[in-house]
Structures are given as C-alpha cells and as structure tokens.
Symmetry: C2
Subunit: 283 residues, 2 copies
C-alpha cells in the first residue's frame, strides 16, 4: 500500500465495519491512539503494534476534554495528510480520525474518573487532564475493541492511569507501554517540541541530562530529597522558567518514596517560555 | 436443563470462557443484571432476553458501591440457591455471581460518572447511587459484551443513566428497557417489598393508586404543580412517613416541565417505616 493510500474512517460505524471484516478473517488487531503531530515516538508504537498484531489502527483525535481553557488546544499542531503518510510508511492499516461531533455528540454526559494514581504530579498541575484522557481512551478502546493498545512511556503517569482504567472497567485489552524515543541529545520526542525556539531547543536537552545525573547521584548515595531539590535548582539555572515538579516516586503508585526498596521513577515537568516539557526515567 | 443445574461462574475468566464458546458457535447473547432477591419483574426480563438472544446470562451481584453507609446493603435479601432455581425456570443459561473481590480487587480506583440525567430525583436523595450503578453496569457490560442488556423501567432514572453511559462510552450493546411488573393491586414489584410489614404492604398499594389518579387529573386539566402538591399530601395522608419526591418530568431528560408538549413521566419515592419505595408511570 502506498503512503498516500492509507484508508481513513471518520466515525464509529466505519471503524467497526473495518474491524468486523478483519475479525471475520481471524485477524488480530492493535490500536495506537494519537493526537497527531506524529514523530518517531508514535511511529515506533506503530511498528511495535505491527509486530504484535496482524492489523494496526491508529487513531487521530485532538481531544478537547484533556485541555484546560488556557492551554494549547487551538494551536496544537495538526497536519493529517502528513500524519497519514507517516503512519502508512510505518505499517499502519487504517487511520481512524473522528470529528469532535462523532466523539462527543450533543447530550454527552459521561466521564471516566481514575483516582489515586491520577492525583499527584500532572494531576496537580493539570487537574482536568486525566479525566479527559481516561474518558477518551475508554471510548477509543470500546469503539475499536483491539487485542492490545500501545502507549509511550514518555507520558508515564498517563500510561498508569490507562492501565488502571482498563483493568478496573474490565476492558478486554492488553495495555502495552513502550520506551520513550529520544533525540540524539536525549530530549524526549514530543509534539510540543515543535513549539520550541532554537534557543529553547538547546536548553531543552538539559532536562534529560539533569535527570540522568540525578539518578546517578541517587545510586551513588544522595538522598531523594536532596536530589529533588538540587535537580530543581539546576533546571532553573539552565533556563527553565518554572519547574512544576522534579520528583522520585514509587514506579507503580506514584506515591512519595524515601528509599529504593521498590522500583522508583524520576518524573519531571518544566517550562521553557510557553512550552511545557515532561520526561521520566527509571531510577 | 433442570432448575437445580443452572451453571454458575464466579469470575470474569469463567464468564468470558462461556461467552467465547457461545460466540464461537455463532450464538447471540443477552445479559440481565440483577442484585438477586428475584421476583417476577426479573423473571420477565429473563424471558424477554430469551426472546431476543439465543443465550441469556443473568448476573447476581449486590453492589456495595451503590449503597450509602446508612442504607440497607447488609440486610439486602440474599438467597442465591432460590434465585438460581427461578432463573433456570425462566430460561436463563448461565448465572454470573462474582464475589466482591472479583469485582473490586485491591487498588480499584475507577468510577464512571454520568452527569445531567443522574442529578435530580434519586440523584438528590441518594447522591452516591448513580456513580455506583454506572460503574458496576459498565463493568458487567464489558465483562460479558452481550448483544443486548435488559433493565426494568421500575428504575426509570437508572435506565436513562445506563442508556446514556452505554451511548457515551460506545459500549457495543443495545440497552433495552422493559415495563414494570406489578402485583395484583398495582404495587410495583421490588426486592424491597420483602421488607414491608402487613400494614405497610396494605398502604404501599396506595402509591400506585395515587399516581394513576394524578395522571388522570393532569389529563383532565390539572396543572403539574397542583398535581404534584396534591399527590404528596395524599401520600402523607395514606401513611407514607416521608415523600422524597412526587414529580412530573420530561421523560428523556428528567428536566422540570410545565406542559405536556413532550413525553412526560411521573416519578415518586416515598418511605413506609424503614423501607423506601419508588415507582414511575408515563403521563
């Protein structure tokens, strides 16, 4: 199939018809939910999906429910033709690109709320965010009913929230997390990197450098509290205007942790100008 | 199959194995969710389910999430053996009776919240109720993935909430409402009728009588406001200690209504001693 010929469906009926035809032929199915503005991180998910299932659907929906009014919903980058070409090249079989009215028709009134793991970190700084994510992901999973759905670890807390909702609501799907894909200088790939000026882009790489060095310091004996404080100071000195958090947490619950008796994760969010970057790494 | 031989499964894996075997054989499937304490209302749902699908699963789970701490979760009637015999006699093929740990394992953290239609009436007097209902019904639907699921109109607002959540979350199921089944004197059948003393049982029939007469009064020209007020007074005079509501509402949205230009519903909730009765009728 040529890159320009990726089939596109725009409503649930079209998606289900394609899925039913594949299911009738005994094929397995993987879903890669995206908000478009695709980069190598997304494409690595599509390739991993293709290794797990005979058919891969990518969804493209910039979900208004997960943006607060002051956030970047309107300026979020959108280029469906380019995204479709990239998806086809990575082995995607179908693009599901519903409009807003197809996802949230008049009278829509249901929200999926995940407690606990959604509360700290992103939940504190973007209180609307995980409700929007959980609701739209539940919908996408139930519209498609894939065997597995793949998400990047770059949005680590989001991955935990989605695993929790799929388990709790008994959605018959395997949620698969895949490693963050990085630029040559270590910056985690993100659609929001497109917003960065050249100067900001240079500074942005320091986020990953400081995280790696902080993890090395913890392994060498620094306390978690000292490392968190030092990391915030170093980010500020590097030019990050605001550091929302720079925190070592339990890798499963995101609860605060003072030792490393259980797997831990370093998670950070910081601002460069109008752009908010997040990243995380295993400690 | 004899009544005593109704197969029972107690976890999602067992349910899905049975469903997969039927699906593999091309059979259609209906689900009848219940909290047990079965009466003719439930059995009429099972028979209607059997007319729509080749296989019928009934679930039996007294859902702790839809009871407030002061409510009757502990004393809610439970007799699984009797329920199983009744279900088998009505044509049910499988009883799904999960334990609490199978439904809400440690770490459970997800809730399905339906706004708007869940807010007035029951939502006002039992503010925890519809969150619990929506969450458990979403789980049951996704555990079973039936072609259709049947609910009694006796819980009219609940039926609207369930229709809304199934539509909003794209659960691939048809939600079917079925008419309330009544005793000879018109009392809507309910598991909570078992709580009534002989005196209370005699008074209980007045709920339906007053509702029918109120609807007749509206059709004869009484205003909705006058009819609601008069209905509450008549219930109190008949011996209902507390009337939570006696209200004519839009039949689809449950919004207040002053005319009958759209379909309307009379809904009522009132107490006899420690027992709370609800009923509703088309105006």
């Amino acid at each position: 199939m040529s890159a320009s010929r990726l089939p596109v469906v725009r409503d649930v009926a079209g998606l289900r018809a394609a899925v039913a035809a594949w299911r009738g032929g005994g094929q397995s199915l993987a879903l890669v939910p995206t908000m478009g503005a695709l980069h190598e991180g997304h494409l690595s998910l599509v390739r991993a999906a293709k290794a797990r299932a005979s058919r891969v659907v990518a969804s493209l929906f910039v979900n208004p429910k997960q943006f607060a009014p002051h956030e970047d919903f309107e300026r979020y980058p959108r280029d469906e033709a380019s995204d479709a070409a990239l998806l086809a090249g990575a082995g995607c079989d179908l693009l599901y690109a519903p409009g807003r009215a197809a996802m949230y028709p008049d009278g829509f009134a249901t929200n999926v709320i995940v407690s606990n793991v959604s509360t700290p970190l992103e939940g504190e700084f973007r209180p609307h965010f995980f409700g929007g994510v959980a609701t739209v992901v539940a919908k996408l999973l139930l519209q498609c009913l894939p065997d597995c759905a793949l998400f990047g670890e770059k949005d680590y807390q989001q991955l935990l929230v989605i695993k929790r909702l799929a388990r709790d609501l008994d959605v018959p799907v395997e949620i698969v997390g895949r490693p963050t894909v990085r630029e040559a200088d270590g910056l985690a790939m993100s659609s929001r990197n497109f917003y960065l000026t050249a100067d900001e882009r240079r500074i942005a790489a320091q986020l990953n450098v400081i995280m790696r060095e902080s993890i090395a310091a913890i392994r060498a004996g620094s306390t978690i509290a000292d490392t968190e404080q030092s990391g915030k100071q170093r980010l500020a000195a590097a030019g990050f205007a605001i550091v929302d958090y720079f925190a070592v947490r339990d890798a499963d619950t995101l609860a605060e942790t003072v030792d490393l008796s259980r797997p831990a994760r370093l998670l950070a969010a910081a601002w460069l100008g109008k752009t908010r970057l997040i990243d995380n790494m295993a400690v």
